[in-house]
């Protein structure tokens, strides 16, 4: 089996990994790096449980070959919490009651993070559209959507605080 040596930055840490050609990014994360927060719901690009951020874009990691990720920057659910502080999407979805079994949650959080990165004040329709690839069987989505709205507010408030804090 041909092995490829790749360098990736995952959640801010540089990792050197040897991956076989057929290995997906999802498998690399879960099996090689013990980052099991990212979930496998179908391995076929149909459920979104495996969503991670690849160079700032949300992707289904089950559809990306690990060998293609040389030099890439990857964020997984494990990388959202920073300095002991939940990311606004984590905080917002928790407060809104958007987690039930939690299996879809890691993917949902990454899709939501990506949305707020490109659009800090999304409308309800924007949120639904951003989450259309993330299947959730437990919640009926209402509380997740509510959570993303809250996250936008939390993020906004934090920004203002920073501005005032510095000014």
């Amino acid at each position: 089996m041909a092995l490829h040596r790749i360098t990736v930055t995952i959640n801010g840490e540089v990792e050197l990994v040897d991956v076989p050609s057929h290995m997906t990014l999802l498998q690399m994360l879960r099996e090689k790096l013990a980052l099991t927060g990212t979930k496998n719901g179908c391995a076929a690009g149909e459920c979104g449980a495996c969503t991670v951020m690849l160079n700032g874009e949300p992707v289904n990691s089950c559809l990306v070959l690990a060998a293609e990720c040389d030099g890439a920057e990857i964020t997984t659910v494990e990388g959202l919490k920073k300095n002991g502080q939940l990311d606004p999407v984590q905080q917002g979805i928790m407060e809104a009651g958007g987690v039930q079994c939690g299996f879809c949650t890691p993917g949902v959080l990454i899709s939501a993070r990506a949305l707020l990165d490109r659009n800090p004040t999304p409308s309800e329709a924007d949120i639904k559209a951003a989450l259309v690839g993330n299947l959730c069987r437990c919640t009926g989505y209402f509380r997740i959507i509510e959570g993303v709205k809250r996250a936008a507010k939390i993020q906004e408030a934090a920004k203002e605080e920073m501005t005032y804090g510095i000014g």
Binding site: L86, K128, L135, R137, Y141, F142
Partner: protein, 784 residues
């Protein structure tokens, strides 16, 4: 609200969940996250045929493949090859009942009976190798005609799913209350319809999985399993493997959604792999892939009903007759739970004096049927609600009026039905106020206004908008029992262990709320452990919306006992009568003199002394174990309403507004409750309009992927949802709770049908079938 500043009364509060920080950061352990050194991987060879005789199996080539450690077929299993146990008793409580037990087998031996049935298992160094080796196995089949249709299954020239039976009849049960034929003779109106409900998948986002480890030195088996019932699974595995219960530990870690099929026990994979691990003395992992989940995880809902309803001309139901066929698939390990639920729910929320119900359960060459969220209830509710709607049309009554004329009145509880339910106990509805719940839903959706003002206006604009409103009941919280042990630790933190598994229902929080209230501690200081047989080993499992009711009350009972111990110690040490003490802020203290206090942590140390003696008749520590078994199941009820708009060109449906009013007794945590209802609703919508397992005439499942089998997505949900709550506490348990886990899913198909008919009134549509789909609806509307 910051819970740390609150002192008391968590039950009923909308608080965030204790388990969420772990789930939100990727730190919660699911079965697939278990990784053990030296772990092998399993893959199953599954039948492509729905029905075929196995002439020959040759595994020799697979065994030669490098990296393959073992290949097993039925022939390799010796005495361990046995059909699984019947998980619920046969319906002998019903006189004259016929039941043929044919339970699933670990690996097919002489023939395969459904597509996806496992024939062989390969165990290898990696899943890749194991799957490649499946291709090396040669199986010679002799295809047999597949039994697919429910009526066809009963035809005299149908092929036999089980050759040793005379027909494909798995069971036959007739129940009668009053006398339907006499009632019919007095009726002004008699309506007959055929009502058909087809199959869907539970489709939890987490597929099934098992990781097993036989530790040969310790002589202990550990099984991580995506099960809803760890304790019975442990007991069964121990018996099958000739081990003592203490040598087997089953752990249901975080489980990514259950919805029923994960209560199905002794599935081939979870029986076979522990056996293999003991032989190979290595850990083994198997995680189902999505296609396997469609083919080989249990399913539900296929039934054909021939219904007759007899009414007076003012819309009073005199009697109901329902003769139906229930599809149990290739085996019937779950007995008659599903069709008995259907029989108990086809009476709905109504006072029906004469009821005849007859079910024939049939074997077919399709995946096994066991409960899926709702478990036969949605079918029963669909039957009665549809018949009432049709009767209302016939009699010129509104859907609300006809329901009100037939509800069980609030003063008639407990209401006895004189039929037997899924627990083989007489069906009794314990409490409720059905008219109030329906009225509330009507008010919340603004029914009168919509029908009189808004709908005519929108129709004039050419819009096809419709409204619907239905009532339903849900039997929940069935026995036999659950238990819990509660311990106060030296740190003052409280540990709660219980046997039920949890699949996202928020048990780590709702159970903690119950305990925190009793012991006066912070809810974040209550640590709940579920689903690990090493921690607590009595119990049955999470099913039939029973977790909060049965386990919740067991936890309540144990907490009451611990509270009593604390008060006793407190009284002794503080030298005040117990009545003058209170439990708050993690302390026992004198109510009038809060500085006179002992923390629970200190008390826990004192109660478990290292020297001296524990007084005779007392036990060390602040700990208690208790159990709860309800006398019979509490019955929840509700009314749902919706307004939708149909585009008659594409038949795409947009739900403008949805209202759900539920009476599930005491609410432990509204945040969790609402989430459960909304989630149930999304599955119900799927059952109504998106999700159908398509089997062709050869028993081939045509849509075994999430690409082809459509789950409801974020964009398909109603634009607006409002939840209402009525509360009649159940008299059957101290907390007063009724279950709710399935409630959201139950009424949706019947509601959707009513609203669609209303929206497409000019087409004079009659919907007697579920699930529909845009295509199907199009055909119904235009091909008439």
């Amino acid at each position: 609200m910051d819970v740390r500043t609150m002192t008391k009364k968590y039950v009923g509060q909308r608080i965030t969940r204790n388990e969420d920080p772990r789930l939100l950061t990727g730190q919660a352990l699911f079965t697939d996250d278990v990784h053990l050194p030296g772990m092998l991987h399993a893959a199953f060879l599954r039948s492509d045929y729905a029905h075929a005789r196995i002439k020959r199996i040759d595994t020799s080539k697979a065994l030669e493949r490098p990296g393959v450690v073992a290949v097993y077929t039925a022939a390799d299993m010796g005495d361990f090859w046995k059909p699984g146990p019947l998980l619920v008793p046969p319906p002998t409580a019903v006189p004259g009942a016929v039941f043929h037990k044919r339970t699933q087998i670990p690996l097919a031996k002489d023939k395969v009976r459904h597509m996806g049935e496992p024939i062989a298992v390969v165990i290898a160094e990696s899943r890749y190798i194991a799957e490649d080796a499946l291709e090396d196995i040669e199986v010679e089949f002799e295809p047999l005609p597949a039994v697919v249709g429910l009526e066809e299954a009963l035809s005299p020239d149908a092929a036999l799913v089980h050759d040793d039976l005379e027909s494909n009849l798995a069971a036959h049960v007739i129940q009668e209350k009053g006398n339907y034929e006499e009632a019919k003779a007095k009726a002004d109106v008699i309506l007959q319809r055929r009502i058909v409900v087809d199959r869907g998948a539970a489709a939890a986002m987490e597929n099934r999985g098992v990781v097993v480890n036989w530790d040969d030195k310790a002589q202990e088996l550990t099984v991580w399993d995506t099960t809803q019932a760890p304790i019975p699974l442990r007991n069964g595995l121990a018996a099958m493997l000739g081990l003592s219960e203490h040598q087997v530990r089953v752990i249901a870690p975080f489980v990514g959604g259950g919805f029923g099929p994960k209560i199905m026990m002794f599935q081939p994979e979870e029986v076979l792999l522990p056996w293999a691990s003991m032989r190979l003395k290595r850990p083994i992992k198997w995680i189902e892939d999505r296609r396997e989940n469609f083919l080989a995880t249990t399913q539900e809902r296929g039934q054909i009903h021939d219904v007759e309803i007899a009414l007076t001309k003012d819309g009073r139901i005199l009697g109901l007759k329902d003769v139906f066929i229930h599809d149990t698939g290739a085996y019937d390990p779950y007995g008659m739970t599903v069709p008995l639920n259907t029989q108990c729910h086809a009476v709905g929320a109504y006072d029906i004096a004469n009821y005849y119900t007859e079910v024939k359960m049939v074997f077919t060459n399709k995946m096994i049927v066991t409960p899926v969220r709702g478990a036969g209830r949605p079918q029963g509710i669909f039957v009665i609600e549809r018949m009432l709607d049709l009767a209302a049309k016939e009699l010129g009554l509104s859907p609300i009026e006809i329901r009100k004329r037939n509800f069980i009145p609030p003063d008639k509880f407990p209401y006895e039905h004189n039929i037997i339910d899924q627990a083989f106990a007489p069906l009794i509805f314990d409490s409720g106020n059905y008219p109030a719940v329906l009225e509330k839903a009507a008010a919340m959706i603004n029914y009168e206004y919509f029908v009189k003002e808004e709908q005519p206006r929108l129709r004039a604009e050419g819009k096809h908008v419709g409204i619907g409103i239905v009532s339903f009941i849900e039997t929940t919280g069935v026995g036999p029992y659950e238990g819990a042990r509660i311990t106060v630790g030296a740190s003052g933190k409280v540990n709660v262990v219980t046997g039920v598994g949890t699949q996202g229902q928020g048990h780590f929080t709702s159970f903690a709320q119950i305990v925190a209230d009793q012991l006066g501690v912070d809810v974040r200081d209550v640590h709940v452990v579920t689903g690990d047989t090493a921690q607590f080993h009595w119990g049955t499992g999470t099913f039939a919306s029973r977790g909060a009711v049965v386990a919740g009350n067991a936890i309540h009972a144990a907490a009451v006992k611990v509270r009593a111990k604390i008060l006793q110690w407190g009284s002794k040490l503080l030298d005040v009568p117990e009545e003058e003490l209170e439990l708050a802020d993690g302390k026992v203290r004198v109510a009038d003199m809060p500085e006179k206090a002992i923390s629970l942590g200190e008390l826990a140390v004192i109660a478990n002394p290292l020297r001296g003696t524990v007084e005779p008749g007392t036990e060390p520590g602040l700990e208690a174990t208790d159990y709860f078994g309800p006398q019979y199941g509490a019955t929840a009820n509700g009314a749902h309403a919706m307004i939708l708009e149909v585009d008659p060109e594409t038949m795409m449906v947009e739900i403008k507004k949805y209202v759900a009013v539920e009476d599930c007794g005491t609410v432990l945590n509204p945040l969790i409750l609402e989430g459960q209802i909304q989630g149930g609703l999304s599955m119900g919508l799927g059952n109504a309009y998106y999700e159908k397992l398509e089997y062709d005439n050869n028993g081939q499942l045509l849509n075994a992927s999430l690409m082809d089998y459509l789950l409801v997505r974020s964009t398909d949900m109603p634009k607006q949802i409002e939840l209402g709550h009525e509360e009649t506490k159940s008299p059957l348990n101290p907390i007063g709770s009724k279950g709710v886990g399935e409630a959201g899913a139950i009424p949706v198909p019947s509601l959707f049908a009513q609203a669609l008919e209303n929206a497409l009134a000019d087409y004079n549509l009659e919907i007697t079938e579920m699930p529909l789909s845009p295509n199907k609806l199009y055909e119904m509307v235009y091909k008439k």
